[in-house]
């Protein structure tokens, strides 16, 4: 029996599949987020060194992780779209970009909120802060380039090339910023050597899982809109029940 591996690489079939998948990611995400935040705020003990303010890491760490991973995933989809000329991969890349930028922004924002009580400053030119800021700039550049080209196919390919160049550059930027910082000033505040409390781990991992599921759900929902927008002149869109009414 021949299986059609590429069935869901067509926007028309993927539109339907994504519509069915969205609730399966959205609801567990909301549930896990509620559990994680509950454990984080009410179960996890107060940190010996950092007091109550450390609890912001339950949001901060997952969003930082997500912002970095989503850039790589976005660049991967963009490369697929560029190499194999598949429409859906490019749509996925442009659907991922706003979510990645959002996570990068949340990560910077919560980092600043955490830095004020801990370091006594909203912003420190720490290597990780700086490279996160540059990551946000890279996302914004991707979105801006995509938005300023009218022809969607050319926009896909041009921004794909930018994303690939960016992902080659990300390690270089990271290490350059790291060396720059260590040359300038001494070590920054680090997490104290003690291992994390179990409740802290539970809170962190459930929020992390919630963020992953959220990112997937939102990307699928957004890619559905992009598909509809790009394929609005096709037969199958005209035959959709939601388009007919």
């Amino acid at each position: 029996m021949a299986i059609n591996w590429f069935k869901y690489s067509a926007p028309a079939t993927f539109y339907e599949l994504a519509g069915k998948l969205v609730p399966w990611f959205a609801w567990p995400s909301a549930l896990l987020f509620a559990i994680g935040v509950y454990i984080g705020f009410f179960v996890a003990p107060t940190d010996a060194v950092q007091g109550e303010a450390y609890r912001i890491i339950f949001i901060h760490v997952p969003s930082s992780i997500l912002s970095m991973f989503l850039y790589l995933i976005m660049a991967g989809y963009a490369a697929l779209g560029l190499i194999f000329n598949t429409r859906l991969s490019s749509m996925m890349a442009s659907a991922l970009a706003p979510t990645g930028a959002l996570f990068a922004f949340i990560s910077l924002w919560t980092g600043a909120l955490w830095g004020k009580p801990m370091w006594g400053a909203w912003w420190v030119w720490d290597a990780r802060l700086t490279s996160e800021l540059i990551l946000l700039f890279l996302y914004l550049g991707f979105i801006a380039l995509h938005a300023s080209i009218d022809d969607p196919r050319r926009a896909d390919r041009a921004s794909a090339l930018l994303a690939i160049v960016g992902s080659v550059n990300v390690p270089i930027i990271y290490f350059s910023v790291k060396w720059w910082n260590t040359l300038h000033q001494g070590s920054t505040v680090k997490f104290t050597g003690t291992s994390m409390h179990v409740a802290m781990q539970q809170a962190m991992f459930s929020v992390l899982a919630a963020c992953w599921l959220y990112a997937i759900a939102v990307t699928l929902a957004r890619v559905r809109s992009i598909i509809l927008e790009r394929e609005r002149n096709t037969q199958w869109v005209a035959e959709l029940p939601e388009a007919r009414s």
């Binding site: 540059i134 700039f137 890279l138 914004l140 550049g141 801006a144 380039l145 300023s148 080209i149 050319r154 390919r157 041009a158 090339l161 930018l162 160049v165 960016g166 080659v168 550059n169 270089i172 930027i173 350059s176 910023v177 060396w179 720059w180 040359l183």
Partner: protein, 227 residues
């Protein structure tokens, strides 16, 4: 024409771009004047204390170089794009990457090299010691070609777009940060009594990496933009 070697092709493209620029000298001069002006504005903004100026000098010169190289990026392909030359270059049987490399080198000679030559004069304005000045020149000499090369990718991607000038800065500036860091780092290392070799070696590594990758990426970007 068929016997044209890669090196001959490179020389041909560079010679053509230099000649075109010589016919319109104002363009080259404007970038240089912009560079001088931005650097001269800093002491007016932060005050004339020589101690502070000496400390700031490498950063100011490098940021000004970065900005003025952004300013001239728009010119790299746009004239050729508008009069159809670029289309002929894409159709040419010779390697597009080499053609692009020629254009990048010509762009550097017109926008990067004048800055390198001008930098010592500006460094003296900031009371930089002679040793630091030499390192500044060396770092600019290694770094400004990288700026032209990364900039070429941005210029090719934004070819013929509305508001391309601002957009190209948005795309290219984050990618240029390592060059800025190592460039200023080299001068600061010398000023604080350390060796600048590690920074300069890293800049050289960036230059080699960019030399290998960016002409090809720019050629791909041009093909995307010219479809």
């Amino acid at each position: 024409m068929n016997k044209l070697s890669l090196f001959g092709l490179l020389r041909l493209v560079i010679g053509r771009d230099l000649m075109l620029a010589m016919r319109r000298r104002a363009d080259v001069l404007t970038t240089l004047i912009f560079f001088v002006m931005v650097v001269s504005l800093f002491p007016l903004g932060v005050g004339p204390e020589l101690d502070m100026l000496r400390k700031m000098a490498p950063g100011v010169v490098w940021v000004a170089a970065l900005l003025s190289s952004m300013l001239s990026l728009g010119r790299m392909f746009s004239a050729d794009y508008l009069d159809g030359t670029l289309e002929q270059m894409l159709l040419a049987p010779q390697s597009l990457s080499v053609l692009v490399l020629g254009k990048i080198l010509a762009h550097w000679m017109l926008s990067g090299l004048p800055l390198v030559l001008m930098a010592p004069v500006l460094g003296l304005q900031f009371d930089m010691p002679v040793q630091a000045l030499w390192v500044l020149i060396a770092s600019l000499l290694l770094g400004t070609p990288v700026l032209s090369m990364i900039g070429a990718v941005g210029a090719a991607l934004t070819l013929g777009l509305r508001g391309g000038g601002v957009l190209v800065s948005l795309l290219v500036l984050p990618l240029c940060i390592p060059v800025l860091i190592f460039g200023t780092g080299a001068v600061e290392a010398v000023s604080s009594g350390m060796s600048a070799v590690s920074h300069l070696s890293l800049l050289g590594a960036l230059l080699l990496l960019a030399l290998v990758l960016t002409p090809w990426v720019t050629a791909q970007a041009l093909r995307i933009s010219m479809e």
